[in-house]
């Protein structure tokens, strides 16, 4: 089975006068996997995901989605329907004058019939708990609701891969938790998820973890492997998750440590 997403020797920079933003990226992703990419601001993680749906083109190397290369512009239409992307600031993604209109935006673009569009929007909005707000202008939504609307707009297009780029950094903890629950639900329903975040506490729900620093991938493995060896984080300029730090400290005293899994975000 072909990889859902594959990066082969990808290097990227915005300008030939500037430094490389991404260096020697080799990455593959399988169907149904939840990948979390973690790194500080400026590590290149947002740039990396923008290469997946063709918003940016690699300077060197090749990116392919379900075998289709992003450098071939004829593939972009299909790729962007297969790979849905939720951007960091929900405010700057919402185009419609009402919740319903924004959810249907992508559908009208891909030529879905009005009746089909309406039924898809209804099911997606009901799934996310926004159906009662369907005629509300986006200005009157709370931060969490706006983020959910952004997700709705992407889900309505029925993608197979969903990229969630730093969508909880500006939200309050309650809304952030709701978004995480939605992501877990999507993962259970078989979507391939790529989560980009700078918050190390959020790594535990993922199947796979990639740690980036200065454009390079420093670690590619499971979150449990990373938690067992905290220099994965410190070598990449990140503070390890809280439970990992405390466990390391307790270990120094030779104490029996609680398993990291107990502090997995969202599992209490």
């Amino acid at each position: 089975m072909e990889n859902v997403i594959s990066f082969k020797d990808v290097w990227f920079r915005y300008d030939s006068r500037q430094d490389w933003t991404l260096r020697e990226i080799n990455l593959t992703l399988d169907e149904g996997e939840w990948l979390t990419i973690v790194g500080g601001n400026g590590s290149g993680k947002s740039t990396l995901v923008r290469l997946i749906n063709g918003l940016l083109q690699p300077t060197l190397g090749e990116v392919a989605v379900y075998g289709k290369k992003t450098c071939d512009h004829r593939n972009l239409w299909d790729i962007r329907q297969t790979v849905g992307m939720v951007f960091p600031n929900a405010e700057n993604q919402i185009v419609g004058l009402t919740v319903q209109e924004d959810t249907a935006f992508g559908l009208y673009n891909i030529g879905v019939s009005p009746d089909e569009a309406e039924s898809r929007c209804r099911s997606v909005l009901q799934l996310l708990g926004l159906y009662e707000l369907k005629d509300r202008p986006p200005y009157f939504l709370s931060g969490g609701e706006k983020q959910k609307l952004a997700i709705a707009g992407v889900l309505a297009m029925e993608p197979k891969v969903i990229i969630v780029d730093e969508s909880t950094s500006m939200l309050d903890p309650h809304s952030a938790r709701q978004i995480h629950e939605i992501m877990s639900e999507l993962h259970r329903n078989g979507y391939t998820l790529i989560q980009v975040t700078h918050e190390v506490e959020e790594i535990f729900t993922a199947d796979r973890l990639v740690v980036m620093q200065k454009g390079k991938i420093r670690f590619d493995g499971t979150p449990q492997e990373a938690a067992a060896n905290s220099c994965v984080f410190t070598d990449s300029g990140l503070l390890p998750p809280f439970s990992v730090r405390m466990r390391d400290l307790a270990k120094q005293k030779g104490l029996n440590v609680p398993a990291t899994n107990e502090f997995e975000f969202g599992e209490e």
Partner: protein
């Protein structure tokens, strides 16, 4: 300079169909030099309260007094604004001069016109927030983003040595290192200059770690008011309005399940937890 609010109510967009009671009869007293964290779900009125306490907006009813100044009098307000530093949520709204140096210069220029003195002050403040003076001073703020711009805005606010500092979510969108840097600098400045700090945030970790007092707002009313060490007493109420346990609190809960150790009850900060663990001996766990 202490801050006193007496039965203050504030409505946003009054007399239009969008009016909403942002602040509902709040009375509050913040003594000088306190580090207060203001928390609450979105829409609870945190930002409005911060702006009220800074004299940026006027309440519909009630009185706000900051030190000797009454917010209702315009002349008092103008004098008040000289001693208040306000950091907005988005530094792009604040740092709008053509170069970083001019951003600081705009404020310092009034205190003294000696270029060397101004340059020296700017240098010191920039180094303190961890920005290289020579690298940044002539750059346009529009080319700087995120954490760096926020640090510039913070330095700009601190350079005039205000007595009251009001910060609206200063660490939103910053990664861990940048956040700890900003916060430790803030705490250092607070300790040195004994200024009153009003810190609006969603992050309970930060409030527990740095604040002397936590105020929680809900729907424009004061929902809770306590010292961080009493977080456990208030937890049930806080959970009802959407508070989520921080990793530290969850860790403590888990430790408490294993050993009912009296010392744990007073732990709410990371350094306390660290010292607790280091002083623990093998047989106790």
């Amino acid at each position: 300079m202490d801050i006193v609010l007496e039965d203050v109510s504030c409505m946003l967009a009054a007399r239009t169909p969008f009016n909403a009671k942002a602040i509902d009869r709040i009375s509050l007293h913040v003594p000088a030099g306190q580090f207060v964290a203001m928390m609450g779900p979105t829409g609870s009125g945190k930002t409005t309260l911060g702006q009220l306490m800074g004299g940026l907006i006027l309440p519909q009813s009630g009185a706000v007094r900051i030190g000797p100044y009454r917010v209702h009098k315009k002349s008092d307000r103008l004098r008040l604004w000289k001693t208040i530093g306000f950091l907005f949520q988005f530094p792009e709204h604040q740092v709008i001069e053509d170069t970083v140096f001019n951003h600081f210069g705009a404020r310092l220029h009034r205190l003294s016109t000696r270029r060397e003195w101004v340059a020296e002050q700017v240098n010191q403040t920039m180094e303190a927030v961890g920005l290289c003076f020579s690298q940044f001073k002539d750059r346009s703020p529009f080319q700087i983003s995120g954490g760096e711009l926020r640090r510039i805005a913070l330095a700009g606010v601190l350079v005039t040595e205000p007595k009251i500092l009001i910060l609206d979510e200063p660490t939103a969108g910053l990664d861990n290192w940048e956040r700890s840097r900003v916060l430790s600098y803030l705490k250092q400045v607070h300790n040195e200059r004994k200024m009153t700090v009003l810190y609006m945030t969603h992050r309970l970790e930060e409030a527990l770690e740095y604040a002397d007092r936590i105020l929680v707002l809900d729907h424009g009313q004061l929902y809770a008011d306590f010292h961080p060490c009493n977080i456990r007493d208030h937890w049930q109420r806080l959970e009802r309005i959407g508070f989520v346990k921080t990793p530290l609190l969850r860790f403590i809960d888990s430790l408490e399940e294993r050993s009912a150790n009296k010392l744990l009850e007073s732990v709410y900060k990371e350094e306390q937890l660290i010292s607790f663990i280091t002083t623990l001996s093998r047989k106790e766990l």
